[in-house]
């Protein structure tokens, strides 16, 4: 197994600053937006974007946590079961612009599951997608509005995102089996 560091802590920080500015530019500020992080990596990223919006605009954007396990289409075929974390969206998403945040965009099935779940919570004005890494291999017609870095990968390769919150250090690794 070979590991290659694609992004370090500083680079991730710069990317998140850029994504934050792109979100604010596209939405002309932060007035009507909310952030929803997809468990677990997306939540850490959404928290950081929230803090950056607060620093830049002085606005506390609502932040929700979404676990998509109950909306996945692969319950029969996934070999591994992930630990489920309760979803927590303590505000109305009706008529808001929801920024969905995830660490890696791959087949698009997680994003679809997240959008299905959001529709059970209300009727957002818009859903936008922000991802740190887009590794390609889409199986559904889904594209991110904000992409940190596009990294073309082979199916055999894996992308691993480490977070300070869990491993003590931020990094993005390419793993070849």
């Amino acid at each position: 197994m070979m590991e290659k560091e694609l992004l370090n802590e500083q680079e991730i920080e710069r990317i998140l600053t850029r994504i934050t500015h792109e979100i604010l530019e596209k939405n002309k500020g932060a007035q009507n937006i909310c952030l929803i992080g997809i468990v677990t990596g997306g939540v850490y990223l959404a928290e950081r974007i929230k803090n950056k919006i607060k620093e830049t605009e002085g606005i506390d954007v609502p932040l929700g946590v979404l676990d998509i396990s109950f909306y996945r289409d692969d319950i029969n075929i996934s070999k591994k079961r992930k630990t489920i974390k309760p979803t927590n969206i303590p505000f109305s998403i009706d008529n808001r612009t929801v920024i969905l945040v995830d660490d890696v965009l791959f087949t698009g099935r997680s994003t679809r599951a997240a959008m299905d779940a959001l529709m059970d919570f209300g009727r957002p004005a818009q859903i936008q997608l922000a991802v740190l890494i887009d590794r390609g291999h889409r199986e559904l017609p889904i594209m991110a509005n904000y992409t940190g870095k596009y990294i073309p990968t082979s199916r055999e390769e894996k992308i691993k995102v480490n977070f300070k919150e869990t491993t003590g250090k931020d990094s993005v690794l390419l793993i070849k089996q």
Binding site: S69, R72, D120
Partner: protein
């Protein structure tokens, strides 16, 4: 794991996984849309060979919240009254290609028998005096919600222990955690030889006064083939939990009952409706816990 036949077969880790998943489903039950598409296209059948309202409706609601197609089978309207065996009933049901069978039966071991003769996932909804695993799981979930932990608690189980599958499943579950378990009741309703980790109390006050959890059981007259207590009135007088108990039990003790409760037999109205009672919370948690069990039993390709 294919089936949930009893708590006895589960590890502490299995139980923690079920309780953790139940927490996520409890959040689903608090939404405006209380339904998830998780098991769309799959089918569950509720096979109830014994009368039941709350357990059957709780399972049915849990199944519907998971988007399962649900069939209900009750013995009074089935071919069982015409003499069909459990095995033949099961084979007929299997021909429907169901994915989950929830079974309640008056014979201990019925759930295990069914589980070993079908590829469907089987959930035991109570078999004779053996086990009622989802009741113990929902009790544990309710305790965890209120107390934040299971370890380090003193739990008094009061009443008809020998006839109770709820007591048995709770005993197995709580024994996997660092708990002090007490059986409290008249000698005729307590086991003569309790497990080593259980303390017997033949006096209500001493059994419950410093307990964190007071778990009352229903007097199971339908399972008693002899006179174990002189009368229900006398049972209430000596063993019923009445408001006087508030003067000596712990301030933060909670009162539980698996239902259906008999007011004026094991519990007084003042206690049943008091803020210490978590009986209705147990009912709500039953749905989330049963959703978790069914979800986790979903068979996966390997």
């Amino acid at each position: 794991m294919k089936d949930l036949v009893g708590i006895k077969e589960l590890s502490r880790q299995d139980i923690e996984e079920i309780l953790n998943t139940a927490k996520a489903f409890k959040e689903v039950l608090q939404r405006d849309i209380k339904k998830v598409p998780t098991l769309r296209g799959k089918t569950a059948i509720n096979l109830f060979f014994e009368p039941s309202t709350r357990t059957r409706t709780s399972f049915e609601l849990a199944e519907k919240r998971l988007s399962l197609d649900v069939l209900n089978f009750s013995v009074s309207t089935s071919s069982v009254v015409k003499g069909e065996t459990l095995y033949d009933t099961l084979k007929t049901i299997e021909a429907y290609n169901v994915d989950y069978i929830v079974i309640r039966h008056s014979c201990s071991g019925a759930a295990k028998f069914v589980a070993s003769h079908t590829p469907a996932s089987v959930v035991n909804a109570g078999d004779g005096t053996n086990e009622h695993p989802t009741q113990a799981l929902l009790d544990a979930f309710s305790i965890l919600e209120v107390k934040g932990r299971l370890d380090g608690l003193k739990i008094a189980i009061v009443g008809d222990i020998i006839h109770s599958r709820v007591a048995r499943s709770n005993l197995y579950l709580l024994s996997k955690f660092d708990t002090e378990i007490r059986f409290v009741g008249p000698p005729t309703l307590l086991p003569e030889q309790p497990p080593d980790n259980v303390k017997l109390f033949y006096d209500l006050k001493s059994g419950i006064k410093d307990a964190d959890i007071i778990m009352l059981l229903r007097i199971q007259l339908e399972r008693q083939n002899a006179a174990f207590i002189p009368s229900l009135k006398e049972y209430f007088h000596v063993w019923g939990l009445k408001k006087e108990a508030f003067s000596y039990i712990k301030d933060d003790a909670i009162i539980m009952h698996p239902g259906p409760m008999n007011r004026g037999v094991e519990i007084s109205t003042e206690v049943a409706d008091s803020p210490r009672s978590v009986i209705l919370r147990q009912v709500t948690n039953g749905i989330a816990t049963r959703m978790a069990v069914i979800y986790l039993l979903t068979q996966r390709e390997v």
